[in-house]
Symmetry: C2
Subunit: 211 residues, 2 copies
């Protein structure tokens, strides 16, 4: 069974959402300075790199990251490929993608994944994302988790409607997946976010295992 | 298949290793203040809560967190229970615990797990840990991953020998597991740490799935 690590490296090169602040990584104890061990601290936005959104991200009084269901975060998933000339994912695009019936977790590979394959670049506003109708389409089909390959499921200049359509329905959003090495088809997906109490999101490690 | 979340909650109540600094969680954008979304930042030591140690934690030029093998972090594991009157885990204690032959991942439940079950308390130096000989015993048996239920695999006043014995052998150390709900026996273990480039350790989400 082949395992794919679909997680972005967390490093100073990783682009971050404008306004979220940077990734600060600091070694506070160093063996070369006489400490027994190397010990580091990390400071970053909770929506950095590969991460999940909790309902509280866009919904006042929404549930928070520690309560996201492991039963949804782990299980059978279907990866779809969207052609490189698609800039906005609409219901029509999803309808043409051939998502099998009863699919509960959909991961969407677009041209965004090429950005990760090429190495990290500055943040781009021109990424492929889902419009509100596409989010509603997935909810109506019974999808409980949707994963995307840039840092937001929604277009840069219109973030609220897509997020709210998914989060209101309890659909978990996984953002910042690197799907560049993954073919279309069925996998077992394991997305394990940090158990951050009270948080609007949480960084995660995510893997796909061939079935 | 029953799933056990053996991860500690990350919150202000979680005890942290002395000198690592606290857990700072801050909401930097708030819906109630007119922002489109709630957005938070997190600052903490990389050895906070449930986490992995990389060789670089105790070994100059050792490998770092992003390169820990997923093939080791994920797979069949055996949970052993150590009686509450044991304060130090020695080879004799492990020998008596009945670890099955060819076990590659061992998770050790001690009285430490009661601390998590009772709710978080201040950091205690008086936790149950492995001496150097116990670490060497596990390495000799071919164990590739060892998990413990307090914040260090080694006694508080003697951290280096146990860590070095394991990390030098390439054995992955998982610390800060809450095993209070888990019976002795076989499970599938999924420990997915953040992919922190160049780090001596990484916080993780860890689950056990019944087999």
């Amino acid at each position: 069974m082949k395992t794919y690590d679909v997680t972005l490296d967390i490093s100073a090169e990783l682009p971050v959402w404008p306004g979220d602040g940077g990734i600060l990584f600091e070694r506070i104890e160093k063996i070369e300075d006489g400490s027994a061990a190397n010990v580091s601290r990390l400071s970053m936005g909770v929506h950095t790199g590969t991460h999940v959104d909790a309902p509280y991200h866009f919904i006042k009084n929404g549930s928070t990251a520690e309560s996201l269901s492991l039963k949804t975060l782990v299980g059978r998933a279907y990866v779809i490929h969207i052609k490189d000339d698609v800039g906005l994912i609409t219901p029509e695009v999803l309808e043409a993608a051939g998502i099998p019936p009863r699919t509960r977790r959909v991961l969407i590979r677009t041209r965004n994944s090429k950005l990760w394959a090429k190495g990290y670049k500055p943040f781009t506003e021109d990424y492929v994302a889902l419009d509100k109708a596409a989010a509603e389409y997935l909810v109506k089909r019974g999808v409980r988790l949707v994963g995307v390959d840039y840092l937001s499921v929604a277009p840069f200049h219109d973030t609220t409607p897509t997020h709210v359509a998914l989060l209101k329905a309890g659909t978990i959003i996984v953002e910042g997946l690197n799907l560049s090495q993954v073919s279309q088809g069925r996998y077992n997906f394991f997305c394990l976010p940090l158990k951050l109490v009270g948080s609007d999101g949480a960084p995660a490690r995510a893997i796909l295992v061939g079935v």
